[in-house]
Each structure stands twice: as structure tokens, then as C-alpha cells.
């Protein structure tokens, strides 16, 4: 009896505040925009029959006709993929170095990685504005050193977005890879070298495959949220930076077109389902392998 209550409370909460809202988004994606409050039609007030009748896929069709949307989806995918790769290239060596560090350093190194994670995400992205702008510190430094004569335009371009995503999500890449490398048995490297591997090939043939799980986890933890990012492309990207999170936000607040915004959300969710399911599957396989 009591167990029922224990399951029921969080369950009902989630049904009400998670599942139902999604169903509403889906329903509104099938509605039309209206000059009313709420700014869509039909609503429940029109009666259930009229509700079903008034729903159509018009908004989804609209998404395919205006190439802003499909360009934004593709651009988001591209940006998320490139950022994930860059984060991996920077995060892996750091995680590797941490895993090889002497034991006394580990707690401090961990702390150094975790501290940015607890600091406000918004502030950390904002910090780059002052660095990357035309009058920013980076350009000042480069011009002061005589390396360039004209300021580099980095802010409000895709490059700044890459830097922003890598910067923000770096801890999410480092931690799972570090965990995987830490678990690895050092004697495996010694065995490889004993059997004739050079340092480099031992690394490629043994270390990398064994840290595969950490790499995969880290990549998913960066790619999936990066796909739907809003803050970074808005603050650091320009009007030419197309990311779907930004498009959704602007569609909703600036154009007040809730039905189209909902349709954008539904399509984004559908795109995300594939990596999410893959990620869940991978986590499950890993958990089973460990038992």
C-alpha cells in the first residue's frame, strides 16, 4: 500500500508536468496561429469535435517549404558534430593526463575540472564576449604582439559558437573518459609493449579501444544538448548562425507563432530520438557488461 504511494507521487508528477506538456506541444503543432489569447486555434473551448477537426499538418508542411528550417536543422547537426569532435580532441588528452597523474594530484585535478561545471553557464559564455569581440582581449593581444594588423572577426560567427560549445561542455567530455581510463589496468599497456608495441601503437591499439565507452558517453553528453543549444549561438553567434534552438526561441517570442514553434520542437525531438535511444542502449550494454 505504502509502496504504491511511493511510486505514485513522482509518477503522477512526471505524467502531469512532463508527459502531458509534450502532448500539448504535439497538439499545438497541429493547430493554427490565431490573434487571440492563447494565440492558437482551435482550443478546448471550441469543443472536442471541433478540436479534432481543426488539427492538421499544415505547420509541418510549412517547415518543409521555408528553407530556413531545414537549413537550421542541418546547420545544428553540423555545428553539434564539429563541436563534439573538437571537444573530444581537447578533452581526451586532458583526461589521459589526469589518468596518468600521481594519486596525490587526482583530487585537486578533479576539483579543477568540476569547478567550472558548478559555475554559472551563462556567465562562462558571457566571458567570451569580452575576449572575442573586435575590441576584445584576444584581438588586443594579437595586435599588440604584431601578429595581425586588423582585428579578427570571431565574435558573431560560427567560430565563436564552436569555441563556446567546446568551452562549456568540456567537463562533460573529460569526466567519462577519465573514469574509463582510470578503470583501465595499466599492466595491459605493459603487456602490449612486452609483445612488441611501440608507445604510440600501444596507445592506438590498446588504450583507445578500452576507453571506447568513455569516449562514446562523452560524445553523447556533448552532442545531444549541443544540438538544441540556445544561449551559445545567441550570445556568440551572429545572424548567420543557424541553430534550431535559437530558431525555436525566436519563432516563439519574436514571431509569436506558437504552432510553428511547436512543430519545430516536434521535429527536433524526432531527430533527437535516434541518438537518445542509441545512448540509452549503449549505457544499458555497459551496465550489463559490468555485472
Amino acid at each position: 500500500m505504502r509502496r504504491f504511494a511511493l511510486i505514485a507521487v513522482p509518477y503522477v508528477w512526471l505524467l502531469a508536468l512532463f508527459l502531458v506538456p509534450f502532448l500539448i506541444v504535439f497538439k499545438i503543432s497541429l493547430s493554427d496561429i490565431a490573434l487571440a489569447i492563447p494565440p492558437y486555434t482551435p482550443t478546448l473551448k471550441d469543443g472536442f469535435g471541433a478540436l479534432i477537426e481543426g488539427l492538421d499538418f499544415e505547420n509541418f508542411v510549412f517547415l518543409t517549404t521555408d528553407d530556413l528550417y531545414y537549413k537550421a536543422y542541418l546547420s545544428s547537426l553540423r555545428i553539434a558534430l564539429i563541436s563534439t569532435l573538437l571537444t573530444l580532441l581537447i578533452g581526451y588528452p586532458m583526461a589521459y593526463a589526469m589518468a596518468r597523474a600521481p594519486q596525490e594530484w587526482r583530487p585537486t585535478l578533479m576539483m579543477l575540472v568540476i569547478l567550472p561545471f558548478w559555475t554559472s553557464f551563462l556567465i562562462r559564455v558571457y566571458a567570451w564576449i569580452g575576449i572575442l569581440s573586435n575590441e576584445g582581449l584576444l584581438n588586443q593581444l594579437l595586435m599588440g604582439m604584431g601578429l595581425i594588423s586588423e582585428p579578427l572577426t570571431i565574435l558573431n560567427t560560427n567560430t565563436a559558437v564552436y569555441i563556446g560549445i567546446v568551452y562549456t561542455y568540456l567537463p562533460f567530455m573529460i569526466l567519462p573518459i577519465y573514469a574509463a581510463l582510470d578503470r583501465m589496468d595499466d599492466s595491459l599497456i605493459e603487456a602490449a609493449e612486452d609483445l612488441g608495441c611501440s608507445r604510440m601503437s600501444a596507445f592506438w591499439l590498446v588504450t583507445i579501444p578500452l576507453s571506447k565507452n568513455g569516449i562514446i558517453a562523452g560524445c553523447f553528453l556533448v552532442f545531444i544538448p549541443a544540438l538544441g543549444e540556445f544561449v551559445i549561438p545567441s550570445l556568440l553567434g551572429g545572424s548567420g548562425t543557424l541553430m534550431i534552438g535559437k530558431v525555436l526561441f525566436e519563432e516563439f517570442f519574436n514571431n509569436r507563432d506558437w504552432p510553428v514553434a511547436s512543430a519545430v520542437a516536434v521535429v527536433l525531438l524526432l531527430i533527437l530520438i535516434i541518438p537518445i535511444v542509441l545512448f540509452q542502449r549503449n549505457q544499458q550494454k555497459q551496465a550489463e557488461a559490468e555485472t
Binding site: 508536468l17 509534450f22 551563462l122 525555436l248
Partner: protein, 272 residues
């Protein structure tokens, strides 16, 4: 003692420099008397004074902290319940849906969560304000709490609960007197995580807050969209200082506990 190779040391140094330089620069420039990044006009704390006398900011800070405390506490309770259910209950009706709902917010883009919740609140006719933000934050935070607590519960020895029952506890007492004290560190971590997430949330709050319930992130956002703002530098420095202090304190505490535990174990083996 292993020494790190030069390559590894370089990787770490460059990496951490990349991570920390922007924050350090923020802190430095918060003391810049000039508004501009291009000019260093001398050391000054005027931005802090301006910030701390700005009523709008202080109001937003108050709202943000209030919302954070309420939502993180509620999220911790719900998240711990969910974690307990997921780890200890075997199959039950609708379990797949439940665990799906619990883990989805981890990967869901905030714009979608925010949009869906706003549509719900509008549909219900709920006025947007502190209540709606708390509801929204609780919902997405509880899944993070659940992840943290359930990873602790998985390694929790169930024999301890059985021993409590065997000695006369009701199920609730067994949880309260035995399980909870032992998993307390994980529950507290969960609370801290939920608190930070709530404190830091911009997107969802933008969707579900009302005119009288502006949060700090929203205020920061409207300030920084126009570029660098020295008051924001000052605010950032304050926030970085608080977090740094907290993380270092937590790190020292856990180090001290580890040392103590090791010493106790050694003493135990000697004093047979």
C-alpha cells in the same frame, strides 16, 4: 612515484588555462574603473557598488534564490523517491515509461521543456510567476537528483535495511534511521546539483516566468545581449567566488574524511 610526461603536463596546463582564463579575465575586469575592455583605467570597486544598490538586480536575486531553494528541496524529495523506486522495485506496471520520463530531461533541449511547460500552464490558466518557475525547475531537476541518488543506492547494501526490519523497524523507520543517514552525502549532492541548475537556468525561466518574477539569469541575459557590461562582470565575480569557496570547502572536507577513514581502518586492524 609516477612522473607525468612533458606532453601530458602541457595538455593539462593548456587545457586548464583554456578553462580558467576567461573566468580570471572576468574577475580582473570587474575591478576595471573603465567600462571598456580596451582600456584599463585603474582599480575600482564602483561596479560592485552600482550592482549592490540596483534594486531590480537585488529583487531578481531574491526571487532566484527563493525559487532555487524551494525547487531543489522539492526535487530532492521527489527524485529520491523515484530513485528508491527504480532501484528497489522490480517490475511494475508502467516501469519503462517511468524510467523513460525520469531520464529524458537529462538530454532534452531546454527550449523544448520550457515551451511544453509554458503551454501547459497557459492551458491550465495558471498565472506565470514564482509558482510556475518552481514547478518547472522541480520537474527537470528531479531527474538529476534521481540519477545521483540511484547511483548511490545501487551500491547500498540491502542487508542493512533487512537488518533494521529484523530488529523491529517499520519500512519507513528503516529508511529514515538507516538508509537515509547512510546515503545522505548523495542526497545532499543531489540537492546542491538541483540548486545550481535552478540558479543558473535561463531558457526555461524565460518561458515560464512572469513580469513580476524576473530571475537573475533573465536579468543577466537582457544585460549581456547588448555586449559587455561591467555590472555583470562584478556579479560574475561574486558568483565565481561563492562557487570556488564551496568547491574548495567540499574538497577539503572529503579529503579529511578519507584520511580519517584510512586511519580508523588501520587502528582497527592493530587493536584486535
Amino acid at each position: 612515484m609516477k612522473r607525468l610526461s612533458p606532453f601530458n603536463i602541457t595538455a593539462l596546463t593548456l587545457g586548464f588555462a583554456f578553462l580558467y582564463l576567461p573566468m580570471i579575465l572576468l574577475v580582473i575586469y570587474s575591478f576595471n574603473a573603465s567600462k571598456l575592455v580596451t582600456v584599463w583605467a585603474g582599480f575600482s570597486t564602483r561596479w560592485y557598488a552600482e550592482l549592490l544598490s540596483d534594486e531590480a538586480f537585488l529583487d531578481a536575486a531574491r526571487v532566484t534564490i527563493k525559487v532555487a531553494i524551494m525547487s531543489s528541496t522539492l526535487a530532492t524529495v521527489l527524485g529520491t523517491m523515484a530513485a528508491y523506486v527504480l532501484v528497489n522495485s522490480g517490475r511494475f506496471f508502467g516501469r519503462t515509461l517511468f524510467s523513460g520520463m525520469i531520464y529524458a530531461p537529462l538530454v532534452m533541449p531546454e527550449v523544448i521543456t520550457g515551451l511544453s511547460l509554458l503551454l501547459l500552464f497557459i492551458g491550465l490558466g495558471l498565472d506565470r510567476g514564482v509558482l510556475t518557475i518552481v514547478l518547472a525547475h522541480t520537474t527537470f531537476s528531479m531527474c538529476f537528483v534521481s540519477v545521483v541518488v540511484s547511483s548511490r543506492l545501487v551500491s547500498f547494501d540491502r542487508a542493512l535495511e533487512e537488518a533494521a526490519l529484523d530488529l523491529g523497524c517499520t519500512r519507513l523507520d528503516a529508511f529514515r534511521l538507516v538508509t537515509l543517514p547512510i546515503i545522505a552525502p548523495a542526497v545532499i549532492s543531489g540537492w546542491l546539483l538541483a540548486f545550481t541548475l535552478s540558479l543558473d537556468d535561463l531558457v526555461i525561466a524565460s518561458f515560464v516566468s512572469g513580469p513580476s518574477s524576473t530571475t537573475l539569469p533573465i536579468k543577466i541575459w537582457s544585460a549581456v545581449r547588448l555586449g559587455v557590461s561591467p555590472q555583470i562582470n562584478a556579479l560574475s565575480t561574486i558568483m565565481i567566488a561563492i562557487v570556488t569557496f564551496g568547491v574548495i570547502a567540499a574538497s577539503l572536507v572529503s579529503k579529511r574524511n578519507a584520511v580519517r577513514a584510512r586511519r580508523d581502518a588501520q587502528a582497527a586492524e592493530r587493536a584486535v
